[in-house]
Amino acid sequence: MKKYALDLCVVEKEFPRDGYVLLKLNNPQGALPEMLAGQFVELLIAGSSETFLRRPISINYVDKEKGLLWLLIHVVGNGTKYMSELNVGDTINCVLPLGNGFSMPEGEGKKVLLVGGGVGTAPLLYYGKCLKEAGHTPSFLLGGRSAGDLMQLDLFEAIGNVYTTTEDATLGEKGFVTNHSILNKEQFDLIATCGPKPMMKAVAAWARTANCECEVSLENMMACGVGACLCCVEKDGEGHNVCVCKEGPVFNSKKLNW
C-alpha cells in the first residue's frame, strides 16, 4: 500500500476520559489514503528537540463519509502531551498508513472476538467496523482496572456484542479479560488482541488451548516506522528478529511462538 506524508488538520477534539484525547483529522488537500484496520500512523512532534522522533499511534477509526481519521491517544509523555494540546484547525504531519493490518477472514459470517485492554482497544473499533461490513460477526471483550477506564463503549456496542471485565468489579465481570465467562461459552473462528503485552500473551495462550487462530498487535518502540532502521524488532518463533513496523504490528501469535 502506498504510504504518504501528509499535513492532516484537527477537525474535532474530544476528551473521552482524564489523560486521553481523541483527535479527528481530515486531509485539507483531498481524500484520505486507503487504510486498513490495525495499521498505524507516525506523527511529527514539531519544534521540540526533546521529542525528536515521530510517535506511532494506531488508527482508531476511519469515518469514510466525513473523510476523518480518528486517533485515540493516552497522554504519557511530551509527545502525546503535544498531541493533546493541538487545537481544532491545527495541522500535524502524519506518515501513513504503516504496517500490516488485522486479517479479514474469508467468506462470511465468521465469529471474531476482539480483546482489548487500556488504550489497546483503539484499533479494535475500526477492525470491528470492517469485519461487520464484510458480513462477519465481531464481539468485543474489553478490560480495564475500573469502569472509567473503558472508552468508546457506545461505539463498540453499535457494532457487536460487548463483554467487559474490571479489576474492581465496577463494570462487567470482576477480574481480567482472560477470566471472562464468554471464553468458555462460545466458540470463535478468530481472536484478535491489542493491549499490554502480558494480557496479549495470556489471550494468545488461551487461543492456543482453544485451538483458535489469534492475532496480536505489538507496540515496540520505533524510529523510522517503515522497516529501514531495524530498531523495533521482536523475536519470532524461530529466534529471528523481525521488524514490528513492517512485518507487524499485527502478527499471528504462532509466528511469535506465543
Binding site: A223, C224, A228, C229, L230, K235
Partner: protein, 302 residues
C-alpha cells in the same frame, strides 16, 4: 540551474546528496516518498559475509536532538543481498553503494569481492566504525594500524571505488584517515555514530540491550563538522561528510568544511522526503548566491 555534479573516485554523482547506511534500508522503503533517482546515490544497510541477527531489543533510545541505536548489523548476509536485493536495485539510474562490515580482514575482503562481481554496484563503503558489535567493526577503526590492515585486505579484493567510513570514537581521526589513504582508499566518509548511553532511572538500567549505543542526529553535527574540517586538511582524497544533517543549510556547511558529498541518516526518520528537499535546497541556495558550480563552495572554509 547550478551544476551539482561531483566525483568520488570513479563514482559520478549527479548531486552530492546520498543516504547513510542503516537509516535508509535498501532504498525501496522510501520509494513512496521520493524518486530514488533524484539522489546522487544511496548507501544500503550494513552487509556482512554471513547473516547476522543483530542485538536484542531494545535497540534504540531517544535523546535530546538525536537517538542512540545498537542494532548491531542485523542483515541476511552478502549472498542474500546479491540474489534478492540487487535485482530490485540494479536498474535504477543512481549510484547504489553497499556498506560492508566484518569481524576479520578476510571477512571484509571476501564480502567485498562478492559485491565486486555485481556490475551495477559501483562502490562500497567499508564500515570499520560500528560501535555495536563486539569483535571487529569499530575495533579496526580506532587505530591507524587496524584501519590499514582492513583496507589493505579489501583493496586487493575490490577494484571499484572504495570509501572507508571512519569512527569518531578516536583521539585523532586525521591519523586514521591518512592511514587508509595510504592503503589505497578512494575516499573517506565520516562520521559514524558516537558511542553513548542512556539510563532508565525507574528501572535502574540502561535503555539499550547491550548497555551502549551509537549517537546520531543533529546533536552530533558540530563534532562531525569539526572532524570533516580536520580530515580535509590531512588527506587529498575526497571526503563524504555526514552526522546530523537535517536540511540544506547543514549540508552546505559540510560542503564548505571540505566534504565533496554528504550523507543523510537519522533525518530520514523525521521526514522521509528530506533527501530530495536537501537537493532542491542546495540548488536554490546556489542560484540565490550566484554559485554556478558546487566546486566553488567545496572546502571554501579553511
Amino acid at each position: 540551474m547550478a551544476n551539482l555534479h561531483v566525483n568520488i573516485g570513479n563514482l559520478s554523482l549527479k548531486n552530492p546528496v546520498m543516504t547513510a547506511s542503516g537509516t535508509f534500508g535498501y532504498g525501496i522503503e522510501f520509494a513512496d516518498f521520493i524518486n530514488l533517482e533524484d539522489l546522487g546515490g544511496f548507501i544500503v544497510k550494513g552487509t556482512t559475509l554471513n547473516p547476522r541477527e543483530g542485538n536484542d531489543y531494545p535497540r534504540m533510545a531517544e535523546t535530546p536532538a538525536g537517538m542512540l541505536n545498537c542494532v548491531g548489523l542485523q542483515n541476511k548476509g552478502v549472498d542474500y543481498f546479491c540474489e534478492n536485493i540487487y535485482p530490485e536495485l540494479k536498474d535504477l539510474d543512481t549510484n547504489v553503494i553497499v556498506n560492508v562490515s566484518g569481524s576479520t580482514p578476510e571477512d571484509y575482503a571476501e564480502c567485498a569481492a562478492r559485491i565486486d562481481a555485481l556490475e551495477r554496484i559501483s562502490a562500497i563503503e567499508l564500515n570499520i566504525s560500528c560501535p555495536n558489535v563486539k569483535n571487529g567493526g569499530m575495533a579496526f577503526g580506532v587505530t591507524p594500524e587496524g584501519a590499514a590492515t582492513v583496507v589493505k585486505a579489501v583493496r586487493q579484493a575490490y577494484n571499484k571505488t572504495l570509501i572507508v567510513k571512519l569512527s569518531p570514537n578516536v583521539t585523532s581521526i586525521a591519523d586514521i584517515a591518512k592511514a587508509v589513504e595510504a592503503e589505497g582508499a578512494d575516499s573517506v566518509s565520516l562520521i559514524n555514530t558516537l558511542m553513548g548511553t542512556a539510563i532508565d532511572i525507574e528501572r535502574r538500567c540502561t535503555k539499550l540491550s547491550i548497555g551502549t549505543g551509537g549517537l546520531s542526529g543533529p546533536c552530533v553535527k558540530p563534532v562531525a563538522l569539526r572532524m570533516v574540517m580536520q580530515v580535509a586538511k590531512a588527506v587529498n582524497i575526497p571526503i563524504v561528510g555526514l552526522g546530523g544533517i537535517m536540511n540544506a543549510t547543514d549540508a552546505i556547511e559540510f560542503l564548505m568544511a571540505g566534504a565533496t558529498a554528504i550523507e543523510i541518516g537519522t533525518a530520514n526518520f523525521i521526514d522521509p522526503a528530506i533527501t530530495v528537499k536537501v537537493v532542491n535546497g542546495i540548488n536554490e541556495w546556489m542560484d540565490n548566491h550566484g554559485v554556478k558550480d558546487i566546486h566553488e563552495i567545496i572546502g571554501c572554509v579553511k
